[in-house]
């Protein structure tokens, strides 16, 4: 009966969910430091973590595993939240961080860098390699980002002509994405064997490319983005009642859509440029969250972010443990692990929440 009391109870329930998931991320991240392909024992890992182990083990842990785990947490959160807000502003459950063709553009940029400019040059740099071999280790990532950014601005610019109607944005994104994919195919057709294999390997998402520096850049951009989305969560809620209704509630819908698309695309562009294509996180996590907790963005934004981190951490750990000496591409594992869970949620009998 007392609304205020009920409201407090509900807020407490949401806070428990969010805190619980945050703790899960921390525990899982810590646990993931102990998994990998280098056959280090639990004891070795612990020693390395405390910097008391062998020099090699300390380097493996602090220079490979820690940046990698951080990348999983950051990119997982960024990609998942980008998917969520894209779905809201485009009123389209199929929308994902790559809806504007960002990933396709990034892939083209990276391929161009690898195939044309660097002749099979692959590394985006890591903390182990000696960085003096000629080319800038960030060249491929920078190129990928440049193309993703140009593509995003191009589409957003085009869509202002049509006052940001959601369907126009989705279709324009598809069309531009197709152009980048076609260009990539043509590029690969003319590539050498080495070039093409390097390019294909780049396309597989791989968290192993993360360094402390790339993690810091991703964390900065993703953090600002998520904060921004949290601040506008009521406006995003209003958009759920439809475009016309939202406008009459005082929301500048076109402007909101533009800002959200831009922010989400930049987050995606940064993650994809540094790590390669990691698909499906931006679809699975938002939908599972909405299914279980409803659509209030004050709740779904943090929960989706945390579930993205969890999915990517789990997928990466799985990838590192199953590769038999080397890590499987994490992009494939997110779908492999996530899709069955996703399907079980979508087809479950719990019908009281709508996606």
């Amino acid at each position: 009966m007392d609304t205020a009391a009920l409201l407090k109870k509900k807020n407490r329930k949401n806070n428990i969910v969010i805190t619980g998931m945050a703790l899960t991320v921390v525990v899982l991240a810590f646990g993931c430091l102990f998994a990998g392909s280098s056959r280090m024992s639990f004891r070795d890992c612990l020693d390395a973590l405390l910097r008391t182990g062998t020099a090699a083990n300390v380097r493996i842990l602090w220079n490979i595993r820690v940046p990698r785990v951080l990348a999983a947490v950051i990119a997982g959160a960024g990609l998942a939240v980008s998917g969520l807000v894209m779905q809201t502003v485009l009123n389209n459950p199929m929308a994902s961080p790559s809806t504007l063709g960002v990933s396709n553009a990034a892939v083209f940029g990276a391929n161009l860098s690898i195939i044309v400019f660097a002749g099979g040059f692959l590394s985006t740099g890591n903390n182990l390699s000696n960085l003096t071999v000629g080319a800038n280790p960030y060249a491929t990532g920078a190129m990928a980002f440049a193309f993703a950014a140009v593509s995003t601005l191009l589409i957003l610019g085009l869509c202002t002509v049509r006052s940001f109607s959601p369907n126009v944005v989705v279709l324009a994104g598809m069309a531009i994405g197709a152009v980048w994919t076609a260009a990539t195919t043509i590029l690969q057709f003319y590539a050498t064997d080495v070039g093409i294999s390097a390019a294909v390997v780049w396309n597989f998402g791989d968290l192993g490319r993360a360094t402390y520096r790339t993690d810091a850049i991703m964390a900065g951009i993703t953090g600002v983005g998520i904060l921004f989305f949290l601040l506008i969560s009521w406006r995003l809620n209003a958009l759920l009642s439809g475009e016309a209704a939202a406008k009459t509630m005082g929301i500048r819908v076109e402007w909101l859509r533009f800002l959200v698309m831009l922010t989400a695309s930049v987050i995606t562009a940064v993650c994809v440029s540094f790590l390669g294509v990691i698909g499906f996180v931006g679809i699975i996590c938002p939908h599972v969250t909405k299914r279980l907790l409803g659509q209030d963005h004050r709740v779904t934004i943090p929960v989706t972010a945390l579930s993205g981190s969890i999915l990517l951490l789990a997928a990466d750990t799985f990838a590192r443990s199953m590769g038999g000496g080397s890590a499987l591409p994490v992009g494939a594992i997110t779908s492999l692990l996530g899709a069955p869970f996703f399907l079980s949620i979508i087809f479950s009998r719990k019908e009281n929440r709508r996606c």
Partner: protein, 256 residues
């Protein structure tokens, strides 16, 4: 209070004029009903008044201010909308009504916003629903929540687009009675479209008959004449008196 003058509108540059010089005047607290056939431009006119669409020419003034000069949020604090197709996300009823306050609080709802929502829910007898998911409610209940959300905007004018379109006869009666009560108590003007002519007569103070993008007749209940209705709706009707009240009857044989 609301004055629409010579408003014209077309959807595309080459397209036909959907509104061809609409004039309409509404006083504070008055209930105005817009009547006309499908495609006569009722929804288009509403969307122009609400700022969802912009008129090609003419002026729409609210309390003397040009509506186009107001920001969306300023407009939302004056005019609220109950659309024909009512949607909410999967939110609780409380949050759905609180959403109407977004033009006031922007980022984060404050104490006064929560109090306002509680007051509205109590006033409309919706307290028991507060924590329910809106998506689980029936059409009639959702319609009421939409009215509550509009009330949360503390508007001076509420625009209803076919408020009874999907409702059964009991819910229809209820929503109209409720809207009328709120309008009278809080001195809120209402502009609504309605298909049922008898319902319209009972609900409204002032009537606007729209045909081919212009308001052809304006006035009180005396406007419901057989010749007017024939002109607007292309039907033959008979107006009978039942218990001293006029009742509009359709002449069946001539409809064929």
């Amino acid at each position: 209070m609301l004055s629409v003058e010579h408003v014209t509108f077309r959807y595309s540059r080459q397209g036909p004029d959907v509104l061809r010089g609409v004039n309409l005047e509404l006083k504070p607290g008055e209930i105005g009903i817009l009547l006309g056939r499908n495609g006569s431009g009722k929804t288009t006119l509403f969307q122009n008044i609400l700022g969802i669409l912009n008129p090609r020419s003419g002026s729409i003034r609210f309390e003397g201010e040009d509506l186009r000069k107001l920001s969306r949020a300023q407009r939302a604090r004056r005019i609220a909308y109950v659309p024909q197709d009512i949607r909410f996300g999967a939110l609780s009823v409380f949050d759905s009504v609180l959403m109407g306050r977004v033009a006031y609080f922007g980022m984060k709802a404050g104490r006064e916003d929560y109090l306002a929502v509680e007051r509205i829910l109590r006033d409309m007898g919706l307290e028991a629903f507060a924590q329910r998911n809106v998506e689980e409610l029936s059409g009639g209940e959702r319609q009421k929540i939409a009215v509550a959300r509009a009330m949360a905007q503390e508007p001076k004018l509420m625009v209803f687009d076919e408020p009874t379109g999907n409702l059964d006869i009991a819910n229809e009666q209820q929503i109209i009675t409720e809207a009328k009560r709120l309008a009278r108590e809080k001195n809120i003007a209402i502009l609504s479209s309605l298909h049922d002519l008898n319902r319209a007569m009972e609900f409204g103070d002032r009537f606007f008959f729209l045909k081919d993008g212009v308001v052809k007749y304006t006035g009180g209940k005396e406007c419901f004449r057989e010749d007017v209705l024939r002109d607007i709706f292309d039907i033959n009707v008979k107006i009978a008196q039942v218990d001293g009240q006029p009742v509009i009857l359709q002449k069946q044989e001539e409809m064929l």
